[in-house]
């Protein structure tokens, strides 16, 4: 889709030999870029489908095909448990971040109050603070709350997404004030207006943002690795358990990585329109 968008202006202007040559060159560049993007993913699945003794093979086609690496991955780790845990973690994190972002953005967009700009700047400012800076204090706090080694410990400190607040606030700023005023005159409370007027209108944005947040949470490795010391409760940690001092166990590692990518691929296939929307909208307004 992106490729078409980039190439079409060239096509429109393409007149004669030089235009066609330019168009071909463009396609060649884009094809090379696509291959560069897709090849590592192909190699991942190709390696996962090789027989364990062929794992180091450099042949492009994995032959004979074997599912042994997948069986090995299931035997060595609690794959189903990890996938369930990761889903729970990603969904709860995304829902929590959406809720916090919605409430914060609603407050910032619909009201005027003292220190509003300063507070908003602080929210935005947290986006500029690298995670590594807050990592240890957060860890100490979790330790005192006795939440280390729990999924709650992974989810709670990440519940506020500055990007979410920023994005929703920008959308709400463009929300017609007249609608809010009309609802207020009808006697709706602020809470009622949020859920009956604002949320239904924002549904596409919320869906798109929710998907982005869920994918980010699904892919998160650093924070769960710090909090979950006593097991490989999420799939990104399960991946690392195939790497170690005695060399990497590439077969099951690639099989697990392949399985880890699948839910995100599926989500993307089903909700492709929303995801592209999310990217497009986040750059709007």
């Amino acid at each position: 889709m992106t490729a078409a968008a980039v190439v079409s202006p060239v096509d429109d202007e393409a007149v004669g030999e030089s235009g066609r040559a330019r168009s071909i060159a463009g396609h060649v560049v884009l094809t090379l870029l696509s291959v560069a993007c897709v090849f590592p993913i192909y190699w991942l699945y190709a390696t996962s489908l090789r027989a364990p003794e062929d794992v180091y093979s450099l042949s492009v086609l994995p032959w004979p095909l074997s599912l042994e690496n997948y069986a090995d991955a299931f035997a060595k780790t609690d794959m189903v448990g990890m996938l369930v845990n990761t889903t729970v973690m990603a969904v709860l994190t995304a829902l929590g971040q959406l809720l916090v972002a919605l409430l914060a953005a609603y407050a910032f967009a619909a009201w005027r109050f003292r220190f509003q700009k300063l507070l908003y700047l602080m929210f935005v400012g947290t986006w500029l603070v690298p995670f590594q800076v807050t990592m240890l204090p957060n860890y100490v706090l979790l330790s005192r709350l006795d939440l280390l080694d729990t999924l709650a410990g992974v989810i709670i400190p990440t519940l506020c997404s500055a990007m979410g607040v920023l994005l929703l606030r920008q959308h709400l700023m463009g929300f017609p004030k007249e609608l809010l005023d009309a609802a207020r005159m009808d006697g709706r409370s602020s809470w009622g207006i949020l859920w009956t007027v604002v949320v239904p209108t924002l549904r596409p944005v919320l869906a798109a943002l929710g998907i982005l947040l869920a994918i980010t949470a699904w892919n998160e490795y650093f924070w769960p690795a710090l909090v979950l010391r006593r097991g490989n409760d999420v799939v990104q940690l399960g991946l690392r358990s195939f790497m170690g001092t005695e060399g990497n166990d590439w077969g099951p590692l690639m099989a697990t990585a392949g399985l880890t990518c699948l839910p995100v691929f599926l989500l993307y296939l089903v909700l492709q329109r929303h995801i592209v929307n999310a990217f497009v909208r986040s750059g709007l307004k």
Binding site: K76, Y221, R229, R230, G247
Partner: protein
């Protein structure tokens, strides 16, 4: 006013974060107090629970399974002690490199694991900064020595003092390996070399490598001791085998730019220049050998399993090559078990766990299931213990042979030991693989000396 609540919560959160950050500094600064007298035995039925941190729990398969099995056996024998296993926290691909940072972050919370498995190169830091408990003070020197003597088979003489610091035992050496020359017998035959007579000197290694390259079209040899990612344990073997040291015997002066060391590095560089050794990263080197694309590799015996799986046939092993006319001095890599608990009951329970994990029974399980070398070496001659396993695995012989003449892997002094080690290895890597002049080692040594307590000279 409700509108403000979120912002208030935000401010409160910021304050809480700032406060907890302050608390962090306070706790790390608190000194640890080691009990002066021997800790009491656990009373019958006294319930204790301890946390055991080991990088083995970070690796799926035989490692996790074997250690889980051992913990199960331990708790069956000591029903009053509950052991919670955990892996080091962190993000490195290899959990073994996260051990120190993991301990540091847990010490910051005031809640370190009670027993931890740490590498030998971390010994100085573990004792002086992480404040591991001196086992001689905790349970008495006699008890520590008695454990080394074992019920039937004692520790290898060279292994007993690897976790000692200033004459006291802090860590009980647990697992280790030495650098071994692995070679591909199938490629040797193809190249017209005799697989029964592997090269014993570096000059022979170079010759064999060039023969392999010209006759099979594969690469000759990869020495996995010369890059920053290989760390310095096996580089120390090479330097020691040429009569040098990377740091002086009193561990006060860096000496990796002195003649014997420079000579050794130059010899390695010459192999790259002659084409005997390909210019590869550590990962490319080990995987190239496992794929059968490189004829020989000098590597930790810990990678034997990976090589065996990759090569299927033809994997052979030999002792570390020598510099002509000089004795080989292998150094070890590996880890010891340390006690970090502060509570006497947990310290005692931790010691019980260490005793069990280093017992004849535990080593028999560890060697047969993971393939690590038993530090109670005589176990391999006992038909009731490891003899059948050793007979089936002739590849472990060079490793066992090297135990007798092994010297400890020396840790660099001071808090900046990692920078010193990495700086040295980066300099070695640029000489060997990027063709830098060997004299650049001197400049690096002078630069790194500033990081060593007392100026390192």
């Amino acid at each position: 006013m409700r509108k403000l609540s979120l912002a208030r919560a935000g401010v409160a959160l910021l304050c809480a974060t700032a406060l907890s950050a302050c608390g962090l500094g306070g706790e790390t600064a608190a000194p640890s107090s080691a009990p002066a007298t021997v800790i009491p035995e656990l009373a019958a039925g006294q319930q204790v629970s301890i946390v055991f941190e080991s990088y083995n729990f970070g690796q799926a398969g035989a490692w996790t399974d074997t250690f889980t099995e051992l913990i199960g056996k331990f708790t069956a024998a000591h029903p009053n002690i509950k052991v919670t296993p955990q892996k080091p926290q962190g993000n490195s691909a290899n959990p073994a490199t996260d051990t120190v940072s993991s301990l540091q972050s847990q010490l910051a919370t005031g809640n370190p694991p009670d027993v931890a498995q740490l590498g030998f190169s971390e010994l100085d830091f573990s004792v002086n900064q992480l404040k591991a408990a001196p086992l001689d003070d905790l349970v008495g020197r006699d008890a520590v020595q008695k454990n080394f003597d074992g019920a039937k088979y004692p520790y290898a003489k060279t292994a007993r003092a690897l976790g000692d610091w200033n004459g006291k035992t802090y860590g009980v050496p647990f697992v280790f390996s030495t650098p071994v020359l692995y070679y591909n017998a199938d490629l040797f035959t193809q190249a017209g070399l005799d697989p029964a007579k592997p090269p014993t000197t570096w000059a022979e290694v170079e010759q064999a490598a060039l023969a392999l390259k010209s006759k099979t079209g594969k690469e000759g040899v990869y020495v996995d001791c010369l890059t920053k990612s290989s760390k310095d344990w096996c580089f120390q073997s090479i330097v020691r085998s040429n009569g040098g040291r990377v740091v002086s015997e009193d561990r006060k002066t860096l000496s990796f730019a002195e003649a014997p060391s420079v000579e050794a590095v130059t010899a390695m560089q010459a192999m790259v220049k002659s084409g005997a050794m390909p210019n590869r990263t550590q990962q490319q080197g080990t995987e190239g050998f496992a794929r059968g694309d490189i004829g020989m590799i000098v590597e930790s015996s810990a990678l034997q399993g990976t090589f065996g799986k990759g090569l299927k046939t033809g994997l052979r092993s030999a002792v570390l090559p020598a510099f002509t006319g000089k004795p080989v001095v292998p150094t070890n890599s590996g880890a010891s078990l340390f006690v970090f608990a502060k509570d006497p009951a947990k310290q005692r329970a931790g010691w019980e766990l260490i005793k069990f994990l280093t017992s004849e029974e535990a080593y028999t399980t560890i060697s047969t299931k993971i393939g690590y070398l038993p530090l109670r070496t005589e176990l391999v001659n006992d038909p009731a213990a490891l003899k059948p396993w050793a007979d089936k695995n002739p590849l472990i012989k060079p490793n066992l042979e090297q135990l007798a003449k092994m010297e400890p892997w020396v840790s660099f002094p001071g808090d900046d030991y990692v920078q010193v080690r990495d700086g040295m290895m980066s300099a070695v890597e640029s000489v060997v693989f990027q063709g830098a002049d060997p004299s650049t080692l001197k400049g690096k040594q002078d630069e790194l000396a500033k990081l060593v307590p007392g100026g390192g000279r």
